[in-house]
């Protein structure tokens, strides 16, 4: 019955070995899908390469459905899963800043690690920037400490906030994802036809 480590089925000592292995798989999948290239990543915002949307949406949908089924079959106790707590205002602000950083930098932390692995200097600079950014944040933390902890909604789930069952949300989300896949397929056909050089 999962989750295995919090339940003691796998002893804590294995924690970090597993972390490493999972990370390796994560990095491999990211790089193999093309996330080690910043131009591939930003392609989703300009309509010439939708790999981010496809991988991301598919992964979220698969994991979401999988978690619900595992819980139903009793393989996993959903109550013991870490659900990210919601601090509404700071999270919105953070997401907006990250969005801008995403466009300018062309990476996100996980993908920048894989890009460093294949030798991209811009990824190294990006990661350095991350370091600096987090350092700056902690230095100026007292100024926005209040804000940082504001709007705490606890470990609220999406279903709880919207007032629908989580299973219903999963269905809706999956439907939206499939529609998005179809629409982006149409868009990509159009954009790529006009610009040969975007096939990287």
């Amino acid at each position: 019955m999962g989750p295995l480590i919090p339940q003691g089925i796998i002893p804590m000592g294995w924690d970090f070995v597993i972390a490493l292995l999972i990370g390796i798989a994560f990095g491999f999948i990211l790089e193999a899908s093309g996330f080690s290239s910043s131009r591939n990543i930003t392609g989703v915002f300009y309509g010439y390469n939708f790999v981010v949307l496809r991988v991301f949406f598919t992964a979220v949908v698969v994991a979401m459905i999988g978690l619900q089924y595992f819980d139903y079959f009793g393989w996993l106790d959903l109550n013991q899963i870490y659900v990210l707590p919601t601090f509404l205002s700071p999270m919105i602000v953070g997401a907006v800043i990250m969005g801008v950083g995403f466009i300018i930098g062309g990476f996100c932390p996980g993908t920048s690690y894989t890009a460093i692995a294949i030798g991209k200097i811009d990824a190294m600079v990006f990661t350095g920037g991350l370091f600096l950014g987090i350092f700056l944040f902690s230095e100026f933390f007292p100024f926005f400490e209040q804000f940082y902890y504001s709007d705490n909604m606890g470990n609220i789930t999406i279903g709880e906030f919207l007032g629908i069952s989580n299973l219903m949300f999963t269905m809706i989300f999956t439907a939206i994802a499939v529609i998005a896949f179809y629409v982006t397929w149409l868009i990509e056909k159009r954009v790529r036809k006009n610009h040969e050089e975007y096939k990287f």
Binding site: G27, S38, V55, T58, V62, A63, G66, V93, A117, I134
Partner: protein, 178 residues
């Protein structure tokens, strides 16, 4: 490995949907084993805390944000996300080796800008992303990906606003990419 580079020299990637399914299954497995999802920015945070602690321990102690991550028994680097992120690097290395993408150090950018511009942009982007990830309690992997999969409302919010903002400002930075 020469035979893997195909004739038109275009990078070989796996099908994105396939990659997505794999990633989703990996995420599911991660939840099943550890009770938490994947993450990436947490490792950098640990690195920052460790560095400041080494260089100026008093300062680290007095900083309210960093203090919570310093423990007396072990270095802040002794942390799940750090090992996982190191694994991400190794995984990237493996995949790059397999698909022949490990080449000399290079910079990737749109042909319309200079290398310097690209590097400055990467730096600024990194700083912004670093700041944002602390407010957002995670980055695209931790908050958006794992958060939404575990049906956290905050995860969904971060995902929507991150990509939404990206689309909103994409036009202004198009020179960097297209």
């Amino acid at each position: 490995m020469n035979q893997i580079i195909n004739s038109s020299d275009r990078p070989r990637y796996i099908n994105p949907y396939f990659g997505g399914v794999l990633l989703g299954l990996l995420l599911l497995l991660t939840f099943y084993i550890t009770g938490r999802g994947l993450g990436a920015s947490g490792a950098i945070k640990s690195a920052v805390v460790t560095t400041v602690d080494k260089v100026a321990p008093q300062h680290a102690e007095s900083n309210t944000y960093m203090k919570s991550f310093i423990s007396d028994d072990h270095s802040p680097m002794y942390n799940w996300l750090v090992f996982e992120s190191f694994g991400v690097f190794i995984g990237g290395l493996l995949s790059g080796a397999l698909f022949g993408r490990i080449k000399k150090l290079r910079i990737e950018k749109s042909p319309k800008i200079s290398n310097k511009t690209r590097l400055i942009a990467a730096g600024i982007g990194g700083v912004l992303f670093g700041i944002g990830s602390q407010f957002g309690r995670g980055c695209s992997s931790g908050a958006a990906l794992a958060g939404t999969a575990s049906l956290s409302f905050g995860g969904l919010v971060v995902m929507l606003f991150m990509f939404g903002t990206g689309y909103a400002v994409a036009y202004f930075f198009r020179k960097l990419w297209i």
